[in-house]
Amino acid sequence: MTLDLVAALREKGFEAEDRGDVVTVRLEPGKLEEAARLAVELGFDHLASVEGVDWPQDGVIEVIYHAESYEEELRGKLLELRVKVPRDDPRLPTLIEVWPNALFLERETWDLMGVVFEGHPELRRLLMPPDWEGPPPLRKDFKVKTEGVFVNVE
Amino acid sequence: MGVVGMLIRIALSPQFFGPIVFPGLLTVLVVLLSIIWVERKIAARVQMRVGPLYVLKPLGGAIQMLADGLRFFFQEFIIPESTDKLVFVAAPIVAMAFAILPFAFIPVAPKFIPYSVPYSMPVFLGLNTVIPLTILAMAWGSNNKFSIQGGIREAYMTMAYEAVLFIAAYAMALLYGTLDFAEMVDAQGIPGIILNPFSAAAFFVAMIMSAGKLPFDIVEGEQEIVAGPFTEYSGIAFGLTMGIGYVQLYGFTLAFTLMYLSGWNPVPAQLYSIYPALGGIMLFVKAYLLLMFIVFLRSVYGRYRLDQALRIGWRKLFPLSIIAVFFSILLRVIGIV
């Protein structure tokens, strides 16, 4: 079955790699929607996660979609779509028409990672307070200020 | 003698004793303080808890409600800026007044009737119908979204139970051939609940709806509209709004006892000979037991939905009350009563 998955993706021109738990497809942003529609056709009809990973040394943010399926033969695998977008202007098309449950996952990724999903109907603050300003908190240049464990005032 | 004797005579006269001492104001206060404690204790017993305990521990926290009441009394009564102040303040007071007023028309014991009118039953029910209006006024005066939601629910609930309440009661009036509570009691050789169970059932459910107790505490709907019409109230006004339902319920249980459970019979003759009002003890005991049963329902049921309550009112209780009317007519025709 897993071989089929890789083969089926190859057939449509997507380079796929089976890594045990996940089948990874690395993509250009332009081909994302096509790949997502193919994933739905293959049975991965909802997302388990949308995440952004900040790689400041490369100047990119990697957006990773994990698609999941409840079918018995597919449930052991996750289909992983990986897209790299420039760090200073991260833009991607929204996938809520393909995967409806991307609605909150994309909103969260915009909120915490600053990736703009074009066409998303409500990019409002979700977890952060509505008046939040400053760098998206999950990026690496956002430093967490921690208080010392001990009181450092005599 | 003289002045003191006159005062005692006034105090012991039915016109004073009925509304002020028993079953009126003072008894209402005692019932109010005790029944909430009883309700919480019953619920606690069912729910594997202890319930109120620490206020007067030897008696199991029996004066918890007194403590709560005092706290309400000394708490600041906040009148929010945005309210209609006159309505906001007056409504709970009017509501409490109209909840207590009907007690003036409840006979206590044989030949011991505060205000003997031939229409005490409709007067009693009629005075109770004012309370929903005052609750509507509270909701409107509060100028709060939750309150207005609650007020509208109260209006709908009135639709559900009011017709049923009146028709069921008139079915009994038809059966006994009188509109007076005292004469109804005298007419009950067999208790009304056995004579016309349909009427009793409809009246019972409708009176729970009217008092807004579970499973029909829709108006307060804590989980979606905070406290309904009472959301903005604090201090003693909140205490009043909380008490209205219980006072109303107590009045209704007295009426229920008079109409269906043969009222004060059997009269303990010895107590009656000491002072006539003491002969009404059975009336109180029956009403209180009924009250305890109703507050026990809280441990068994949740809350019905508004439209379900309306459906129960119109599809089940209303036909039931109509059946009760015809059943009464039937009983009259074949001459059982």
Binding site: D21, H66, L126 | Q47, L306
Partner: protein, 401 residues
């Protein structure tokens, strides 16, 4: 239903003047740490906008700043009522990165605590479902009986709620003496109580009236929206992350994953009752089958100084040397899924070869179920909103992370 119809239903509709907006929460008796903006037309809900994030604690960011093993006590704060199941996924991801497998006895112990936590979590959810229709008895009973399972977990792990029981390579403590008898007694008690629950709650006509036919989630929609946990299975999808065989010993045990076809709020409630029965069944089997042996992988036991190791073997509890917290995560990444009481939790851990994980992505079941607040209530009456909320077993701190 085509996906565009689904998405149209998901979007919050702004109100015009005929729409009455009610703000439920964040300070409100029933909402917990979140706010709903409910838009009503008359008594009918037009749309609900779940405004979450009131208890956002930046779990993902904080996990990046800590040594990998120290993130376990952090992450379990997401769902404190279910802390074994919420961290087992993270532990599994670390184990995959570190290339270590727990010994069989540790796997059994993990399964045992997972199921104890699951029962406690379901009781919590059922209790809330009771109080949402003002059924205080169900609320009190469930929360009272939850104490039984919490104490059982305390016996096993030493903590009532924050167990931090599973660590990479095994578990912290061995089974205490006399645990089996205690657990069996708890199961017998719970079986009796479940019958009481059916009598007073599940078969109560008032409860049936409020929950039946309310908030129906069709099978196809449930799949499409990626709903997880009992909410998914109540719609007839037989999916449970325990079936993946990735963690625990579920592939060696004989248990069923109950499903229901109705998909309404009542089905979601009843399913939790069924799952409690199955969990007790699993606990029984685990206690019967549990093998003897070490509770920590050999690889890590060697790190413990010989004297302490002897003591650990004797007492059945492991006190780790400081070096354990400084485990270097090999470069790479791992995903893990685990079934919590609320549903499937997803972890994705990326490591760049240092002591701290480079990125920890966690998608909690409650966060995945938030979408149902958009999808289910429109078209229902306002008074149906609390039962829908109650039936979803939604846990705000878990969704906010």
């Amino acid at each position: 239903m085509s996906s565009s119809v689904v998405t149209r239903r998901l979007l919050a509709k702004e109100g015009d003047e005929s729409v009455y907006e009610v703000f439920i929460g964040p300070q409100h008796p029933a909402s917990g740490h979140m706010r709903f903006i409910v838009r009503l037309q008359g008594d009918v809900i037009v749309s609900v906008d779940p405004d979450i994030g009131w208890v956002h604690r930046t779990m993902e960011k904080l996990a990046e700043t800590k040594e990998s093993i120290k993130a376990i006590p952090l992450l379990e704060r997401m769902t404190i009522i279910d802390s074994q199941n919420v961290t087992i996924g993270y532990v599994r991801a670390l184990e995959k990165l570190l290339g270590v497998e727990p010994p069989p006895r540790a796997k059994y112990l993990r399964t045992l605590l997972s199921e104890i936590n699951r029962i406690a979590s379901h009781l919590y959810g059922m209790g809330l479902a009771g109080i949402f229709v003002n059924h205080s008895t169900m609320f009190m009973w469930c929360f009272g009986d939850r104490e039984v399972w919490i104490q059982l977990a305390e016996d096993l792990t030493g903590a009532r709620l924050t167990h931090s029981y599973s660590v990479p390579g095994g578990v912290r403590r061995d089974l205490p003496q006399g645990f089996k008898e205690k657990a069996l007694k708890a199961i017998r008690y719970m079986e009796k109580r479940l019958e009481d629950y059916y009598r007073i709650f599940f078969n109560n006509p008032q409860v049936r009236a409020r929950y039946e036919g309310v908030g129906v989630l069709k099978k196809s929609d449930a799949k499409r929206l990626g709903i997880v946990g009992p909410n998914l299975r109540a719609s007839g999808v037989k999916y449970d992350a325990r079936l993946l065989g990735d963690y625990g010993v579920y592939d060696e045990l004989d248990f069923e994953v109950p499903t229901m076809e109705e998909g309404d709020a009542m089905a979601r409630l009843l399913l939790r009752g069924e799952e409690i029965k199955q969990s007790m069944n699993i606990i029984r089997q685990v206690l019967d089958k549990i093998p003897d042996g070490p509770i920590m992988a050999e690889k890590y036991m060697r790190l413990v100084p010989p004297k302490l190791r002897e003591q650990a073997l004797k007492e059945g509890r492991i006190k780790f040397p400081g070096i354990f917290a400084n485990l270097k995560l090999p470069k790479g990444e791992a995903v893990a899924r685990a079934e919590m009481g609320h549903g499937e939790i997803f972890y994705h851990v990326i490591s760049d070869g240092t002591k701290k994980p480079y990125r920890v992505r966690v998608v909690t079941p409650a966060f995945r179920n938030v979408i149902l607040f958009r999808f289910l209530p429109p078209g229902h009456r306002f008074m149906d909103f609390p039962p829908i909320y109650g039936s979803l077993d939604y846990f705000p701190p878990e969704a906010d992370r």
